[in-house]
Symmetry: C2
Subunit: 292 residues, 2 copies
């Protein structure tokens, strides 16, 4: 494990859900010898995270955790970031480095800039790891291993904070990808938020038109994302709505062209679209060992 | 096995691809004691189907297979139905019952009415079974087992032909669902052709906007159908284009509403859509033991 991380005496994990608890387990598994303090709103959650061995100590008091920590990892739902940054700011000291796990980055960074005393020591991150499980019970030490972690430093980001945050995510076995917060939000709108929206729309169209008797594995796979947590997803879509609307509009234009090709009975034009999509997707799958 | 099927001396399977060969293997596994003759355009395909034990005899001559058969199962791609029905008609005798495996039904039935001498003895079917494999090599005796098979009789369908065809599909372990060809095409447009079109559009939008670095399992699952065989899929979309266009338009209207809710920052309206979709999907999954 990187020396930068071993020198940290205490890490605070703010939010002991699936991801926060998995980060704690991952740090322990990677040999981190310092103290891990977990913060959650319920004592039950803290007890579960401690029982799993992800944290050494649990508290409902953000200030208590932050005061004696050199690194804080914000792992709460997007809707709670403003409040969490406010609470951190009350106890923020010069030696504190902060990162997060939020699914959108421009909104998180704007909140950090608004509330934190030293926003340059906040380094936005998006570990692309998840599971159908929820809470500390579903946490896994290797949840992040082999997965991409997007790091979104800005012009004002402290170099020392950036190095520490990157070393921490790398210690969990993640592949780091640096990009701007704007680029992150454009890409996730296309690759994650748009497919979720389409899964939802496909289910709503089926609810309107019927056809459940003939639904099988193809429909199940295409609509799987429609079963994900609605409040969490609503927060993500709202936080990134500008980019999501752009992605939805691009899809809308392509939808119009698809309808037009069918309407004109243009089998050649249709086939060209299907061939192009298959080639692009198959090329992507072939170049990713972590997929399929 | 139903006595109706055991009384058949010879079954002709016209098209020895994945599905045709699987039907042959399934009939043998179910104890069918008569002769199974397979027809394909290539000797290699016939040899493979025979080697798998799916057929007793292979021929490239439709007439030879049809003349001595009491039941013919058309298992060719949609684009070859017209030609196949023409060839069958040349040798069609009064004792011949015909069924098929086509993914659309109104177009197939129209073709049967146009070409066959006794269209009342044709009973349209759509066994909802498939695999990522192709050809006789990928065939499985239990491919159809436990899956739904849509049967689409019309007003002019012969009762005896209907009973025989239903008994045949049932002998493979399929769950029979009767509906009109129109209803079948409406339902599959919604549940199968629309999700395929959306998978294609999601890949094309990603090809235009980028984001492959952040793509993971969610994108993979939602776009899986975009990797299916383009010529086969183009035939299906063209054959059912009237219903597919209606389904695409319904999705387009819902897309506009989704964009509008985001645009207005209406988190409550958005959450209501996400909650509705999740509930509908989860209810469906919970009531289907063959899914997940």
């Amino acid at each position: 494990m990187d020396e930068r991380i071993q020198q940290i005496e205490q890490v605070a994990i703010l939010g002991a859900g699936l991801l926060g608890t998995s980060v704690g387990l991952g740090l322990k598994a990677a040999g981190y010898a310092g103290r891990v303090v977990g913060v959650a709103r319920s004592e039950e959650t803290l007890a579960a995270a401690k029982q799993r061995g992800a944290i050494d100590h649990g508290t409902t008091d953000v200030g208590e955790a932050v005061k004696a920590s050199q690194l804080a990892i914000v792992a709460v739902p997007l809707g709670q970031f403003d409040r969490m940054f406010q609470q951190i700011a009350e106890h923020e000291h010069d030696g504190l480095i902060i990162t997060d796990v939020g699914s959108t980055k421009q909104s998180v960074i704007a909140s950090a800039r608004e509330h934190l005393k030293h926003p340059g020591r906040f380094v936005g991150a998006h570990p692309m790891a998840g599971s159908e499980q929820q809470g500390p019970e579903g946490a896994q030490a290797d949840l992040c291993r082999g997965k991409p972690c997007i790091i979104t430093p800005g012009n004002d980001t402290d170099e020392d904070a950036l190095a520490t945050v990157e070393a921490m995510w790398k210690s969990l076995g993640m592949t780091l990808i640096r990009m701007s917060a704007h680029e992150h939000d454009v890409q996730t709108a296309t690759i994650s938020h748009l497919p979720h929206a389409m899964a939802v729309l496909l289910v709503l169209v089926a609810a309107e038109r019927g056809g459940w008797d003939v639904a099988s594995t193809g429909f199940r796979d295409t609509t799987r994302l429609a079963s994900s947590n609605p409040p969490m997803r609503a927060d993500i879509l709202m936080a990134n709505r500008e980019q999501v609307i752009e992605a939805l509009n691009t899809l809308g234009h392509r939808l119009d062209r698809f309808i037009d090709v069918l309407d004109r009975g243009d089998r050649g034009g249709l086939l060209a679209m299907l061939e192009h999509a298959r080639q692009v997707r198959d090329d992507w799958v072939a170049h990713r060992d972590d997929i399929e």
